[in-house]
């Protein structure tokens, strides 16, 4: 059996698809939350920060466990969906997206928040006093000036989403041809001794992750 077969290609494509969708969501939610944490003072700010950062330090299986409790067929949120539509996110590729999203989100928020906080307050005040609304100021001043951190956050999030294993296993399962992203497929292949295919996937993941780290470093080094 050759290393590259339909199953390998499926895993590869699924992984890219899951990581891409998750990263887009991470960008939208992550940048918004990072902005709020960086610029707004409100009750529960510290709690929100901790909740969002937890997946960074918890074992991914624990994060996945929480996701099952929340979004499973009998979960706090999943139950309503199931009653309403007869559909559950469990064991679909959407679940893999959800897992990757939750695990990658803190990386985006941490880097974007630091970048937004480092934007000179006087520039923001100048924008306001020149007649520009908060939203305009975000898009024309704050985001352009924090783009380095945001790009770094996006790249890290994508790499993290691509490598997501534990939480995905808990909520999306490891269903061949449906939810077996590359990290899951590698686990299966190693268990069943299919070394040549496993080698190919491991090498591919390593190269692509190394490439992303290289990009992050380059972005980080470039002057504003």
């Amino acid at each position: 059996m050759s290393a590259i077969n339909d199953a390998t290609l499926f895993s590869l494509r699924l992984s890219l698809q899951v990581a891409t969708v998750a990263t887009v969501l991470v960008m939208l939610v992550g940048i918004s939350v990072a902005y709020i944490l960086a610029r707004k003072d409100f009750r529960g700010r510290v709690l929100l920060d901790i909740l969002i950062t937890l997946p960074l330090v918890l074992p991914p299986t624990v994060t996945g466990y929480y996701l099952v409790i929340l979004f499973g067929r009998n979960g706090f949120i999943g139950r309503f969906f199931y009653d309403l539509t007869g559909w559950s996110i469990m064991f679909t590729w959407y679940a893999a997206v959800l897992a990757s999203f939750v695990v990658a989100l803190p990386l985006m928020i941490k880097t974007a928040r630091a970048a937004i906080e480092s934007v000179d307050k006087n520039l923001i005040n100048a924008s306001y006093s020149l007649g520009h609304s908060e939203l305009e100021t975000v898009f024309k001043v704050i985001l352009p000036l924090s783009r380095k951190g945001i790009i770094a956050g996006v790249v890290l999030s994508f790499a993290r989403a691509l490598g997501e294993f534990g939480a995905t296993l808990m909520i999306a399962g490891n269903i061949p041809g449906r939810t077996d992203t590359m990290p899951l497929a590698i686990y299966t292949l190693a268990n069943s001794g299919e070394w040549s295919t496993a080698n190919f996937m491991v090498l591919f993941l390593t190269l692509i992750s190394g490439f992303f780290l290289y990009i992050t470093n380059r972005v980080g080094m470039r002057a504003v």
Binding site: N125, A126, S127, Y128, S129, L130, G131, H132, L145, V224
Partner: protein, 250 residues
Amino acid sequence: MGLSVNLLKKVRGFTLDVQWEVEDGMAVLFGFSGAGKSMTLQLIAGLMEPDSGSIHLNGNVLFDSAMKIDLPPQRRPFGYVFQDLALFPHMTVKDNILYGARGLCRDERKAGVKKIVGLFRLEGLERSFPAEISGGQKQRVALARALMGNPGALLLDEPFSALDNPIRLEMRRLLKDVRRKFNIPVILVTHDIIEAYTMADKIIVYAGGRIRQAGPPHEVFGNPVGPDVEMLVNMAGTASLPLCADLHLN
């Protein structure tokens, strides 16, 4: 007409409690660092909220704690030049100036930028970024940007403090010129006595969050109300006063 302010603001052991007004003309807020001068500008521009008081510009209420009126900074028609100038580093000179245009159509903006670029002698620098131009040029861009929106008054927070002496003199001359052309009140914050003496139509002396004395320069310098104001005024020293006379900008 003009600008009148009545401000009370308490922050961490410091109380600002001032009341003054200026007609058209150049008012200089003068005093040591930490006397509340910069804070006054921020309160006027709406970047901080006073605990109580009122701010009126040309008959319009911008802030009034009793009437519960508090316009956001976007709706207060001031041209604000920050101490560090706050030019947007990611925008060209032209884009920085354009960013100050308020509610104009495209053609008006284009014409406005051209006019103001000429007025501030910035021709040829339109495509440069702030990091690529000199201190004096940055200064002129900041003024141009502040004036692009046709403000009702100019607020200048020690705008010349980072400049070398010759450029500083040139900037003072330019500012006088600008004030005459636009004919709006200018509030200039400084702790430089020569600047205060040569620029002001009215000097407002700040000390510890309060006003010690206000009036035309010759009056304040001639008859300081107390030893503290006298000390402030004498900070100029004997060396700078002849210089001051030489460079009379009126």
